[in-house]
């Protein structure tokens, strides 16, 4: 499904990584490991199509993502370091608008249900600026519950989350993988996700 061929990334005059190859099939999980500054986020941004690799090609179902564009994006949910929540909008508005941007129209009931499952019930109408870092993260991750995309690219999804939430995300990932979804993620925390196939990519 998702295939990276001979990827290389250059930032300024520093080469972050080269000759990165991987193949991820349906139901597969790819964990990207590496110390700070080794290019994990850069790799994920390249996989999303946000930036282009210095060398190499990324294929989705056999076609280059550069040619697929919108068709690839409709299969993709990316949650990066920046949570993409607007301070002045309420939690509910944030979820509904960010899902609408991703092409998924979510009814208020669906959105409230997703927020409840993320442990945010009672806070739907609070503006996002009063939330803690971990709660913002939960708002961003609630999108995973409402968007029915195949490929999830998650950059440090567990950062700032408490033990309960980590457990919740783990279950969420396992269910997505069991439903033939694909997950690419980076994390510094040890997390044990059961998957049909797990690829460990180490950047140095």
């Amino acid at each position: 499904m998702l295939q990276g061929i001979n990827l290389a990334c250059v930032r300024g005059d520093r080469r972050l990584f080269k000759a990165v190859n991987f193949t991820l099939e349906a139901g597969g999980l790819m964990q990207v490991h590496g110390p700070n500054g080794s290019g994990k986020t850069s790799l994920l941004r390249i996989l999303c199509g946000l930036s282009s690799p210095a060398l190499g090609e990324i294929n989705w179902c056999g076609a280059s993502i550069r040619d697929l564009k919108g068709e690839y994006f409709s299969n993709l949910t990316y949650i990066g370091h920046l949570s993409g929540t607007k301070d002045d909008l309420t939690v509910l508005e944030n979820l509904r608008i960010s899902s609408a941007l991703a092409g998924e129209h979510v009814s208020e009931i669906q959105a409230r249900d997703a927020l409840m499952r993320m442990g945010l019930n009672g806070r739907e109408f609070l503006p996002a600026k009063v939330l803690s870092q971990g709660q913002r993260r939960r708002v961003a991750l609630a999108r995973l519950l409402v968007c029915k995309t195949k490929l999830w690219i998650l950059d440090e999804p567990l950062a700032a989350l408490d033990v309960m939430a980590v457990q919740l995300i783990q279950e969420l990932l396992e269910r997505h993988l069991a439903e033939k979804g694909l997950v690419v993620m980076t994390t510094h925390q040890a997390i044990d996700v059961a998957a049909i196939s797990t690829v460990h990519l180490r950047l140095t």
Partner: protein, 219 residues
Amino acid sequence: MLFWIIQRDLLLAIRRRSDVLTTLFFFVIVVSLFPLSVGPEMNLLRTMAPGIVWVAALLASMLSLGRLFSSDYLDGTLEQMLLSPQSLSILVLGKALAHWLVTGVPLVLMAPVLGIQYDLPADALFVLVMSLLLGTPVLSLIGAIGAALTLGLRGGGVLVSLLVLPLYIPVLIFGAGAVEANMAGVSYDAHLSLLGAFLLVSLVLAPWAIAASLRVSME
């Protein structure tokens, strides 16, 4: 989709009214400074009025360009827009239109009141409003290209003015020209037609240019 993004930006503007009001008050104050500084010479004021109102409108609409993409950029919403299955051109068209509704429309509504300070006759006020109505969306659309190009740069605000102001000149000439033509008793149709043409051309080409600039800035 266009509707969603416009609705979102309007909602954000309502939650942050101060941003809208600063632009409007800037416009009001700049226009009001001139009669105070040059004195109550009616004929002089009447000839100066169209130019002053238009220059003030240019500066006021530029004042808010910095915020057009920067807040979305800082909180990561812009990344999500780039990854939207919808065409990015449509999204940025929505953002530019929302910018116009929030900053351009109040200027258009305020202009006739300010025109009275300059003793403009009623039909000249009408032409002034018409020219602003056609011209201010062009300012938002062209300005958005500059804002997208300078996204994430230090000192981007000054750079935006250097990039965008020269491109505003044709709009300024024909916008102010329409009112002057009306006061000179000549037909102003040509000026307004040209402004309309600018609007149509920028509606078609600007979203594409904004989207391309955003992709470059986000690399």
